[in-house]
């Protein structure tokens, strides 16, 4: 009797999960579908599901109108760059908090996270002025700095929870073995934390890739990533749904593919420490 009930419960949950999954997936599916329609079919009502003339002309036109690869390259540089710079700061920071905690460590961590609760628009003006005065507007360097600072709290937090799981005995053993602090971190801590660092990097690359507020406000052409590429299609001359969809599909495709192949790693990273 009890077994039957749990089985039913499992089926119920599965159905629920599928519905939620499909709801989340549908907009992306619809976007990809629309990108293969003509502009006319894209806005037709009732919308056509599969029975339309598949076309690649949107993609051709998008590539002809703006250089996709230049934007994509900027996205890669910004997301990977800000993540690497972030690691450089987040690893020592998380090390200190995990292995040499003080009474205020928890407070510091919470404070760092609380900065993420502030709407970015609140600091737009000062940051814009700083960027203007220092000549950082529309530079990759400037954007890397902003993105890295925006994501640093999350990186520190994630690495901290990872490092917490590593027994301090092992680091002490390295110290007894004569490892200096940099060697202790490079040869012992980092190799053990590879899964955690990998998922931290992945998450941050995704966050930086999708970041649209700063990239749109602080760039015009030279440093503009794919977010700006998409935005350029919602223009005053009218909405071109099919081309916008094609541009969006091209923009999210790389990160979607990375995410798909690394989902195991990512999920493990996000739930690490939750269950022991």
């Amino acid at each position: 009797m009890e077994n039957k009930q749990t089985a039913l419960g499992h089926i119920g949950f599965s159905i629920f999960a599928w519905i939620v999954g499909l709801l989340i997936f549908f907009p992306i599916f619809w976007m990809v579908l629309t990108s293969f329609k003509t502009e006319l079919e894209a806005v037709s009502i009732p919308p056509s599901f599969m029975s339309f003339d598949w076309t690649l002309e949107n993609y051709a036109e998008v590539q002809a109108r703006s250089d996709y690869f230049r934007f994509a390259m900027n996205s890669v540089i910004l997301s990977v760059g800000s993540t690497l710079v972030g690691l450089l700061f987040a690893v020592p920071c998380a090390w200190a908090m995990a292995f040499n905690p003080t009474k205020r460590t928890k407070d510091a961590l919470l404070w760092m996270l609380s900065t993420k609760m502030m709407p970015p628009v609140g600091v737009l003006v000062p940051i814009y002025l700083v960027f203007r005065d220092w000549g950082l507007l529309d530079t990759r360097f400037g954007l890397i700095m902003v993105l890295f600072l925006m994501n640093l709290p999350i990186m520190v937090w994630m690495l901290y929870t990872y490092f917490k799981e590593i027994p301090s005995d092992i680091l002490e053993a390295a110290r007894m073995d004569g490892a200096t602090l940099p060697k202790e971190i490079i040869f012992v801590l980092l190799p053990m934390a590879v899964p955690g660092i990998a998922s931290t990097m992945l998450l941050n690359i995704i966050l930086a890739w999708n970041e649209a507020f700063w990239t749109l406000n602080l760039t015009t052409a030279d440093a503009a990533p794919l977010t700006a590429f998409i935005a350029s299609y919602s223009s005053p001359e009218g909405l071109f749904w099919a081309k916008l969809s094609a541009a969006s599909t091209m923009a999210v495709a790389p990160i979607l593919i990375i995410g798909w192949f690394s989902q195991k790693q990512l999920v493990r990273g996000l739930t690490f420490g939750a269950v022991k």
């Binding site: 005995d169 053993a173 110290r175 007894m176 073995d177 060697k183 040869f187 053990m192």
Partner: protein
């Protein structure tokens, strides 16, 4: 060479005096065991010597040089941790070689030393494995191998056997003792297990609440405990303590009688008692009895004793084996 001397070593965590001030001499080549109940500060004291904790005050002299403010690696000591603390991402070979690599030894020297240590510890066939693929005993051997290749002034062991099962523990105990006889290097060994302390040590340091209660050879502590705490801690099963009239007969506040120093008779004796539980081990029998007027006592009788629950017996302590204590628990000497 590894003579270690602690002078008024003190450690406080916040306002808590974990080690209020310890003086201790450890001679070169000695096997010293720190023993005491959990929380007595024995591990902290070891970590202070290792340099993994900073001393609040006092000196730690290794071969005459004060190293209290030196980094752990500069002290020339090796440590074996309770959790083994092997590097999980390295092979056994690299685990053992890590310290040598950090010291900048040449490849040839490293290889020779690692192979040599592996031979001593029977690890030659496992050098390419990772710690995850080893049994508990093998991991412990790797941890020891990592310690010996560095040719330290002294080995520090922090409860190294407590993660092993009983049979393996006895084996490893013998191996470590054998290793000490072979290497003749100073060893400091922390344990809460008084059997390990008694069987391995040249010198036992009994600690309680960060204080040294007594230092001495195992049999000295067994035969002449300085106070009630040491008397109760050393020896298994624990010493029985009797007060009241029985103690007054011996002109003291309390007497201590070890379970093995009590004669059992079914006919006559000093103290009438009733058996509650009899544990028959074959070679010996532990009788947990209720002595009339004194409460629970433990008696250890050799061989098989045909006694069981509710049996009435008589106990007679060996007079010259009775320990006497004053009201503060300080030993008064035997009769």
């Amino acid at each position: 060479m590894g003579a270690i001397r602690l002078e008024k070593v003190k450690k406080t965590f916040g306002t808590l005096d974990v080690i209020p001030g310890v003086d201790l001499d450890i001679n070169d080549g000695e096997f010293v065991v720190f023993v005491g109940p959990s929380g007595c500060g024995k591990s902290t004291l070891l970590r202070l010597i290792a340099g993994l904790e900073d001393v609040t005050d006092g000196k730690i002299l290794i071969n005459g040089t004060d190293v209290a403010n030196e980094a752990p690696a500069k002290r020339g000591l090796s440590m074996v941790f309770q959790s083994y603390a092997l590097y999980p991402h390295m092979t056994v070979y690299n685990n053992i070689a890590f310290g040598l690599k950090m010291a900048g030894e040449s490849k040839a020297v490293i290889d020779e030393k690692v192979q040599n240590a592996a031979k001593i510890l029977n690890l030659t066939d496992y050098l390419e494995r990772r710690p995850g693929a080893l049994s508990g005993g093998q991991r412990q051997r790797v941890a020891i191998g990592r310690a010996i290749v560095r040719n330290p002034a002294a080995f520090l062991f922090d409860e190294p056997l407590s993660n092993l099962d009983a049979a393996l523990r006895v084996n490893m105990r013998l191996e470590i003792t054998g290793l000490h006889q072979e290497l003749k290097t100073t060893m400091i060994y922390v344990t809460h297990d008084q059997v390990e302390a008694m069987t391995m040590a040249d010198k036992i340091v009994v600690l309680q609440a960060g204080r040294v209660e007594q230092v001495g050879k195992p049999m000295e502590l067994y035969n002449n405990p300085a106070n009630k705490f040491v008397a109760g801690f050393i020896g298994s099963p624990k010493m029985n303590f009797l007060g009241g009239d029985y103690a007054r007969k011996y002109d003291c506040h309390e007497v201590g009688i070890r379970p093995e120093h009590v004669a059992v008779s079914t006919e006559s004796g000093d103290l009438p008692a009733t058996v509650k539980i009899a544990e028959h081990l074959g070679a010996e029998t532990y009788l947990h009895v209720n002595a009339d007027g004194f409460g629970p006592m433990t008696v250890r009788a050799t061989g098989e004793v045909p006694l069981g629950e509710h049996d009435k017996i008589w106990l007679t302590p060996e007079r010259d084996r009775i320990h006497r204590f004053d009201a503060n628990g300080i030993a008064l000497g035997k009769l």
